[in-house]
């Protein structure tokens, strides 16, 4: 029954979404609120039906219903309970359902929050969101149906991709999709603004928090993806510039640019056209990313299934871009700037530069990602673009962005006087410059690493200068220190939330810099009882043991690790899944603030007498995850509802 009910629910949902999109548009054009109300009900219906689809699919996974093709491919009788749930979105069909469900949830929240407050925009927002929804439902019903039957029903399924059997896989796609789908909201508002002609600042004010929320989830998704890559894939890295990673990184870059450029519009009534373009670009990039990873057009180490879905996404991308850019061209005259840049030394120009750099970074990532395709189309030569290109181009951009992170928040709007520059930046610049010496003494030699560390000190100093000064001002008004600080954070939560996010990004940047500059590794074959030494660590091979797990066979090595004192026994493993060509590495590691010891088991002799092992000492990697936590705090602070300032 499940396939029939699920399939029918998706189809009805599709009909409702199409109806709702049309009804909201016609309703507002012809001034019939009843139609808009009907669209609202349709959106509610879509949410209920998609929730039902999602629940049915989950139920099918939990009960091993192999009559569903999707279930049979992505699970087997040995799959543990926990991973049967995550397997729901372990492949294409289910992830589209998850995506659609989140989108319907966002639509619902938009209705609840904005149906009163956004009178003119609201019906069009509903139209756009339901139209996007309709597209995903079309994919679910036609291109990638999760409820397809499999006959004859197999006795057992193939099983989930073993690499996805990891806790990171629960949260990573969820966070990433919350980010992707969340970006639909600002896009819908932007289009609504263009269609209704109300291209003023209302849509910006209303979507600011939506953008922060989506941005935050996107950041979280990227970081968890990095963590998954680091502790599951066993190559010791967290980022490989793979097309799939780039697909998520590009909208992150443009969304970051947007978060900054909207502030200029709020303050100075400038950049209307630019902000609308950024929203469209960001949303387009989320679609492009999905197209890229799901169409099989570009080879990637992430083995995703392919199918007709690529054509669907490309058509939709074309529709979105033509519609949005067409509307932009149509409203061209209304979008001319009202303000003008007063001075190069101003916050506006710092933010503008930040935007240019972020978009340039997004463009280089884009270029590197599609270059293999371009090369084949133009020259007929197959090439691949690897990490060296991306690093070489992006590292200078990111260093410049770090510098702006220090300048932007403190420099004055409009025109910064020399005096204010001196007041704000003398200490941070001095501290940053002075910090070069101790870093150098500590062994930081590479120019890039040294610059990154110095810039971090500089930015941290600017944040401290600002915070200390604001706290002092409140103390003069008679507040105590701690309440003054707390009040600052809460009352100017957006500003200080932004600062905390900046700190988080800096900490991530330190982790990235450190791990790139100072990580060391070695690979060697050890006989039982033999040891290898690296960076003060001594790793001795004690032996191998084998075990039969519920859905795979596992060979585990035991290695005693010490660095002067005992660190512990690390047990990297190799897992043999019957459905996989090659064994899956089970990494073992000890995380530390200064460095991680990271061990991967390679080949071994059947009798356990010897084993090849890859030993890495990865420096400062933990700071990437710590930075992620700080970033979370900052984002939470920024998302808090803004307090009314006392008159």
């Amino acid at each position: 029954m499940i396939p029939e009910i699920g399939g029918a629910a998706a189809m009805v949902a599709l009909a409702l979404a199409v109806w709702g999109a049309v009804a909201a548009a016609v309703g507002t054009r012809t001034g019939r609120p009843a139609l808009v109300l009907s669209a609202q009900h349709a959106a509610l219906g879509v949410f209920v039906l998609v929730t039902a689809c999602f629940a049915l699919l989950t139920y099918a996974f939990l009960t091993f219903d192999f009559s569903l093709r999707y279930v049979a491919i992505n699970t087997n009788l040995g799959t543990p309970f926990y991973y049967r749930i995550t397997a729901v979105w372990g492949a294409l069909e289910g992830s589209i359902i998850l995506w659609a469900w989140m989108l319907s949830l966002y639509t619902l929240i938009v209705i609840l929050r904005h149906r009163e407050s956004a009178q003119e925009l609201y019906p069009w927002v509903l139209t756009v969101m339901l139209a996007v929804m309709a597209f995903f439902l079309l994919v679910i019903t036609v291109a990638a149906p999760p409820f397809e039957r499999l006959a004859p029903v197999p006795a057992d399924g193939r099983g989930l991709n073993p690499l996805l059997e990891d806790t990171g896989m629960i949260t990573h796609p969820v966070a990433l999709y919350l980010g992707f789908t969340g970006l639909t909201v600002p896009f819908a508002f932007a289009l609504a603004a263009l269609i209704s002609g109300r291209v003023g600042d209302a849509w910006i004010t209303m979507t600011r928090r939506w953008t922060i929320i989506a941005w935050y989830f996107l950041s979280l998704g990227l970081l968890i993806g990095g963590w998954w890559s680091y502790h599951v894939l066993g190559w010791g890295g967290y980022w490989a510039w793979d097309p799939v990673e780039n697909a998520a990184f590009m909208p992150w870059l443009t969304a970051t640019a947007l978060l900054h450029s909207v502030m200029i519009q709020e303050r100075r009534r400038m950049l209307k056209l630019w902000n609308l373009s950024l929203v469209i670009l960001t949303f387009g990039l989320t679609l492009f990313g999905t197209f890229l990873t799901r169409s099989g057009v570009i080879a990637s180490v992430h083995a995703f299934t392919q199918g007709s879905i690529g054509v669907f996404f490309l058509s939709f991308l074309a529709l979105v871009l033509f519609t949005a850019l067409g509307l932009l061209a149509w409203r061209w005259d209304a979008l001319r700037a009202q303000g003008a840049l007063d001075s190069i030394l101003s916050r506006e120009s710092a933010f503008l530069l930040n935007n240019v750099l972020l978009v340039a970074a997004a463009f280089t990532v884009f270029f590197g990602t599609v270059f293999p395709l371009l090369s084949e189309a133009v020259r007929g030569v197959k090439v691949s673009v690897g990490a060296p290109f991306f690093n070489q181009v992006n590292v200078p951009l990111f260093l410049a962005l770090m510098f702006l992170m220090g300048v932007g928040p403190l420099i004055a709007w409009r025109r910064a006087s020399l005096d204010s520059l001196r007041r704000n930046f003398v200490w941070p610049v001095a501290l940053g410059a002075l910090s070069a010496a101790p870093f150098f003494a500590l062994g930081v030699r590479g120019a890039v690493a040294l610059l990154a560390f110095v810039l971090t000190v500089f930015v941290a100093a600017t944040i401290s200068v600002d915070f200390v000064r604001a706290t002092r001002a409140r103390k003069r008004m008679g507040e105590r220190v701690l309440p003054a600080m707390g009040g600052l954070l809460l009352r100017h939560n957006r500003r200080y939330g932004g600062f905390v996010v900046h700190l988080g990004i800096l900490i991530v940047a330190l982790g990235v810099t450190g791990s790139q500059a100072w990580s060391v590794q070695t690979e060697t074959t050890l006989r039982r009882g033999e040891a290898v030494e690296l960076a003060g660590y001594r790793v001795r091979f004690e032996g191998l043991s084998a075990s039969e797990e519920s859905n795979h066979f596992k060979v585990t090595g035991a290695f005693t690790v010490s660095n002067g004192r005992a660190v512990g026994v690390l047990q990297p493993a190799k897992k043999f899944y019957p459905q996989e060509t090659s064994p899956i590495a089970g990494v073992d590691y000890r995380l530390g603030l200064r460095e991680d010891v990271y061990l991967v088991l390679g080949d071994f002799a059947q009798d356990g007498s010897q084993a090849t092992v890859k030993l890495q000492v990865n420096r400062l990697v933990s700071w990437i995850w710590i930075g992620g936590a700080v970033l979370t705090l900052g984002a939470m602070l920024a998302i808090l509802p803004e307090r009314k300032k006392p008159a």
Partner: protein, 178 residues
């Protein structure tokens, strides 16, 4: 509107990009250029499921189609098995050798696979995984076309089709220089 027709170029600017992406459907990222193409095929010897020995070196002077498969490789290996059998029957008269190498598999499941498809060309298991490593097998199925001099001339990733099989084999059979 007529004053500034230039702005309408904005939506049109995405056309080249979309065209490029659409072009992507025509190319196959799975045609990974193998560094082995043009190189001598690594030698190997194994025992077929019937118990007969098979050695690649002994086939010198003949065109060899080397196919890597596994019984769990669904659906690609299931799609191509009938193709291989059909083509082998067509070309065996002209001296073509087809050898199937089963990798990462259980003996029983593999034998069932051979029996079910009634494969009559030699098939054997790569028990130690050495052959697939030598050939840099990325995933199953993969098919190598080896010429009379024992050089790899083409590699096909994914289920082999009648057409791909025919084109490659005809080319190598026609080449009688060796």
């Amino acid at each position: 509107m007529t004053r500034r027709p230039v702005r309408w170029l904005l939506p049109l600017s995405v056309v080249p990009l979309l065209a490029l992406l659409a072009y992507g459907f025509r190319v196959n990222p799975h045609e990974i250029p193998s560094p082995l193409v043009g190189r001598p095929a690594p030698g190997f010897a194994l025992q077929t499921f019937e118990g007969a020995p098979f050695a690649l070196e002994a086939q010198r002077g003949k065109v060899v189609v080397l196919n890597f498969w596994a019984s769990w490789c669904r659906p690609a290996c299931y799609e191509e098995a009938p193709v291989l059998e059909r083509q082998w029957r067509t070309y065996r008269e002209r001296g073509l050798v087809v050898i199937g190498v089963d990798i990462q598999d259980r003996d029983e499941a593999a034998r069932t696979f051979v029996r079910e498809f009634g494969l009559s060309f030699p098939n054997g298991r790569d028990t130690a995984g050495k052959v697939s490593v030598d050939y840099g097998v990325y995933g199953v199925p993969e098919t190598f076309f080896i010429d009379r001099q024992g050089r790899i001339r083409a590699k096909h990733v994914g289920a082999v089709t009648d057409e791909a099989f025919r084109t490659n084999v005809e080319k190598l059979l026609a080449d009688t220089t060796g």
